[in-house]
Symmetry: D2
Subunit: 340 residues, 4 copies
């Protein structure tokens, strides 16, 4: 059994890691941190996990990292980089924050508004999009989990840019996301009364995940790519659905995606003309991708759906951790989605 | 046109008052207060009301009460009593807080945990259950709006206690309530992710509205009455449904309720054996009441449903204000419920 | 008082008409039809309207149209044209079905798959987009209510095409719609368990409202315009949000919309850079429009939100009926939205 | 690997069985039946399970039962008894319908309105409440899964009746249930637009699960016990919460429950004074039980929460099947709940 630690275990991504690890045959949790809730039983913070035998929440500096092989860091942005910098060298790290996603220091400053506190580490971090960086992740000490919206847009579009099948100047990502992506912090705008029975766009043309899109799409296309991106908040707890408008031949796009992901354990390309739904991936590590032709010749609509807490963050993190520890990457991740 | 003022206009009951007053032919809003949001346009705080021509939010001490006939006070408990005490004598007041609901100072201290800051005023306040205190309300300077859960339980049970048709020692009020009753304050427990897709009981055997039940039921029965009361939180924004288990002959109970409320404009007793639903009163000032027989002889189940923001607070407040200002009590309150 | 009749009153648009007419000072309902539910009390079909004094549901052929000035026809597509053809000449008609929306017989056949049974009437019908056909509606005998999705896309885009401010070849309408648009018929795909907690696209690149977009956009642009259009189904009962990607200068678009709709009673253009939410128009006849710049130069995102059952169908129908009967078009339609 | 078959696999309990079996290490699905959907790929009926390699849906008479050890029968009531009667003798059966729950033929006729078609089998069926009939289940050929509401009420109350700690004449079960319990059939009353944003009681004092309550409570108490029972429908997909009003000493009740269930793998008794929530057991086989004192001396409130599709039906069915096949009863059932 591999000993692992979760830092920042009192948020939704932390709880999702605990849920997934409860079904993992080769990892065990040796510590769970949550600064403000240190001293509390985990089951009092997340009653759905009260049946598990878990360590009491503690402060980070109370953790003994001896024998610990890997740390999941689910701390807030900016805090994460400072904490990770101070971790002992022998532990591997999967960071779920945004701190190590952008390789370019200037891009980091642009989107996150400040100097990076761990520039040297930033240089060594591997971007955690498993299907694209699998070999680098296997060898990495520090993996930076992708943004959940970013993953939803990258997975269906990267193969198309790489293959030169779509016009890189004409990509519009329209995205619907659930509320858990905003975290467990108490915010007026996330109250049930404010969010239910409606939908609205937010962070229009300015969402921070644009930094990830720019970085990865430009790399794949071999030229600067700048997408349009409009996220909307939906009254659903989990799930992201991307509807992506592109220029290209729909059937060729579908064929390329089907081929690219044929052997991937968690990416499922639907038959041509079908579109996915968030509720069909809820609670699972699967990503469903669909392609349909637009009514205008030479245009297509590409869809992808995943669970932001699983494939979009904690499931992806565990998939990467499995690779980093030499395990089968599917371990603990093959549960079916929960519907209805 | 009567000039009115709303204090504490940035919460849900304040917004509901503004919504109702927008359709009121004989009242106009001359000031809206919200201490922390003073200076903001009302439409920026509640975009659904942006089409209305409303005063900018201000601080209470900026309000000129000259020419103002009535104040709706939608401030938090405890704050309310201090503010109301300082209002000019010529204004009438409908208070939506809990501060003036309990006539007994000791009961107030027991349920709200402190000495009352306006004991003299408390003595003069009329309890705002329109159907029971109509004449007193007409003559009152200060009316204390009922608790929304309290109103839902009182309306169907008071007539039965008065008529001696049920056993006062055997009343169990099981209640389902929506999230808007908790207000617009940011609380972890009221996030969409925490509240949706589930239900749970809260404040079991200890909810503050028990003070109102005790006061009004005991008065009606002519003896001390102590009910059991379990509220549950539901994933719905508006609406309260009370399911009340009593001892008595179901058909007699139904007949008594039907007779009692035959001429009431907002209370609707369903045919015997039918039960109401919160979604059928949403957004309206109506209360639907139903009675069915239990399978055990001599027992009955009484149901009532109302919208906590309308008949349970702001609609009731307006109905009372109409009476206090000599208007038809239905003015501005006859809109039909919104379904679906 | 004008006597009106509602045919097909047992569906959601029928119930919405009854709700709105309950607050209308100059119309009264003289008959309500629903073939399969004929004989039922309306309050048994829609309990939220049980407090109203309404005619019992009847069959169409039981209705005496003498003295009736206007008929709202909320019957299913195809049925509507046959029924309307047979109505007495003295009644004016607002049809809420799709039967008379398309002026071109060939377009009708293309989108609705059959020959039209009332071609002569079809030629005389006026398209019910009030803000564009107000004078024709005032004089019409038969007005064809717009599709609810169509109205949501047309209102923000028509002025921009007319003014030549956007590229007519580059319009992408991404749309989120609630479940009530699918009607009250029992369909597996509309069950709560199937629809809640998720979102999915449907009728991709093939939705029938494309016929209306093509007709009206082409007319406005003076050339054939073919938009891309992807509707998504959301877990909300009411409301449509359109997110529309266009080429043009965002600030100029905003200025044109603000000017165009400055005097319209129900269209509200938000300050530049703000986006609307469906929950802020729920239950009302308002349409909120917003414009923001895209991050790519020369592109903009235009948003519009309305309630599909109100401004998208029954509210629009009443607004048009008011015009046809010489009344103030706002009568019975100025209620504020219901939030939360 | 044990070969199993699921009859009636196109409903929600069928899909839940498939979901659970996908994570079961010792069972494999050899056939899935669904008469009207025979010939369809399972992933087209339930897209959330499209990643699984499953047999195509077939008709029952196409199934070869050779080598099949156990059949899960998720057919509708009345159909089930006829199909099970005809199954080969060598297969064991877990029936999820109501057909074999009531041991008394007269009770069956009373609640289900007709003669039983397999009276001999009915006599041999074991009631599937695992915690009470574990040894009988282990030896049974036919196990009748409990009603989901019944299980929720029985688990917390049976130990209290057996121990004589509560008054058997004074039990009121107030219950909140999600929509999936009504199945996947298209019914107007289960549409999202009808069910969301509200709650209502149904089958008041007449729900069929009363037959199970009467049977099991009377057996436990050693006298005829007749409870009051009011189920309510909630806008949630999964989950049942029972709030049960009893006469007894709350702390003694809590102690008895804690002791009774101390070693049960799926029953979790919360600390005294805490109440469970449906969202904390969603998607899992756990049942959470809580006890609080009422404000009236000698009365208590007992709560239980479980997922109707898991512990309330398909999870329970699998737990029983594990026992019948000599496996560890927890196999395939220890996944943590899904929250949020």
């Amino acid at each position: 059994m591999k000993n692992i630690v979760i830092l920042g275990a009192s948020g939704y991504t932390g709880a999702e890691l605990v849920r997934l690890l409860a079904g993992h045959s080769q990892m065990q949790i040796s510590a769970l941190s949550a600064d403000r809730k240190a001293g509390m039983a985990y089951g009092d913070v997340f009653p759905h996990l009260r049946h598990l035998n878990l360590p009491t929440l503690c402060k980070i500096d109370e953790i003994n990292f001896e024998g610990v092989e890997l740390v999941f860091c689910a701390l807030p942005h900016a805090t994460s980089q400072r904490v990770i910098k101070a971790l002992p060298q022998h532990v591997k790290i999967v960071d779920l924050s945004a701190d190590f996603r952008l390789r370019d220091v200037a891009e980091y400053a642009k989107w996150y508004g400040g100097a990076h506190a761990a520039v040297e580490l930033q240089k060594t971090a591997v971007y955690g999009l498993t299907e694209y960086y699998r070999e680098e992740i296997r060898a990495a000490r520090l993996v930076a989990g992708t943004g959940c919206n970013a993953a939803t847009g990258l997975l269906p579009i990267l193969p198309l840019l790489e293959a030169g099948l779509i016009d890189p100047d004409e990509i519009i990502i329209d995205l619907l996301t659930g509320v858990s992506g905003a975290g467990r912090g108490a915010k007026e705008g996330m109250l049930h009364a404010e969010v239910s029975e409606g939908a609205h766009a937010y962070a229009i043309a300015s969402h921070r995940h644009l930094g990830e899109f720019d970085q990865e799409f430009s790399k794949a296309a071999g030229q600067a790519v700048k997408v349009s991106f409009t996220p909307h908040l939906l009254p659903q707890n989990r799930g992201i659905l991307a509807t992506i408008y592109v220029r290209g031949e729909a059937e060729a796009l579908h064929a390329a995606l089907a081929q690219k992901y044929a052997d991937e354990p968690f990416i499922y390309v639907l038959p041509f003309g079908q579109a996915p739904a968030t509720r069909h991936v809820r609670g699972s590590n699967y990503c469903h991708i669909g392609v349909t032709a637009d009514r205008k010749t030479g245009r297509a609509i590409v869809f992808s759906a995943l669970d932001n807490l699983t494939k979009g963050s904690s499931g992806q993190a565990l998939q990467n951790a499995n690779l980093m520890l030499g395990l089968d990457e599917r371990t603990g991740l093959e549960m079916a989605p929960l519907f209805p």
